[in-house]
Point group: C2
Chain length 138, copies 2
């Protein structure tokens, strides 16, 4: 099975999606990412989708799930590199990726994450005692 | 046709190879990379191959060509993320990727490039000096 590699750069995990997001690949990526966030303590996740011609509802939902899981683990998710045509199609399909922050490219995304972290501490209470924290994805 | 996306991070271009390197894909990547190096003036290229199970002679040659083209354009190429099994197979096949510098992962690779640029102007002949290139995968 194909696996999407996760690259660590400073305090950020970078994922470049290039292959078709079938069910198994998407699930594996979610698991791998969650594990890497916990293992590395990274505060940011950047998902580059510049290689994708199409973002359908499944991919959209996958991205939303990743963002929610990351948030619970105290990491911020940014989707970067969306092609103009993809953005247009998404909106035409009624998928506006609610709850997902975007940036134009990886570099701007990393700046955005750095600014967020430099500005202020995120105000949600740390999820250290996360075992019984019943967190519902938005 | 598939295209491998090229991500710019600071003074470095990052390429994560995840799909099979068929002839057209490899050629396209070489062209795209050369164009991006010229367009951005980046001094470093990092190629992540952590997703590859196999590096055969064609991929090895492609990497070598990319490194040579980059060098001519005054950019340094690093191959990172090689799996241990890939390294073993490469050596068993008699392919030791001459002229290609390696690092264990993207983060170490970026540090290495930053150090090189901070230290001095890299001169082409430094390439084959064993010491510098000694950080290859185990």
């Amino acid at each position: 099975m194909e696996r999407v590699p996760i690259l660590k750069i400073g305090d950020t995990l970078l994922v470049s999606i290039q292959i078709d997001m079938e069910d198994q690949v998407a699930l594996q990526l979610q698991e791998d990412l969650a594990e890497r966030i916990v293992a590395t303590g990274c505060g940011g996740v950047i998902i580059d989708i510049s290689a994708l011609d199409i973002v359908d509802s499944f991919v959209g939902r996958t991205l939303a799930t990743i963002a929610s899981v990351s948030r619970v683990l105290d990491a911020e998710t940014l989707v970067v590199g969306m092609r103009p045509a993809v953005a247009i199609t998404l909106v035409e399909l009624g998928l506006s990726l609610p709850g997902i922050r975007t940036a134009l490219n990886v570099e701007l995304g990393m700046e955005m994450l750095a600014r967020d972290h430099g500005d202020s501490e995120p105000d949600d209470t740390a999820m250290q005692d996360g075992d019984d924290a019943a967190v519902s994805a938005p």
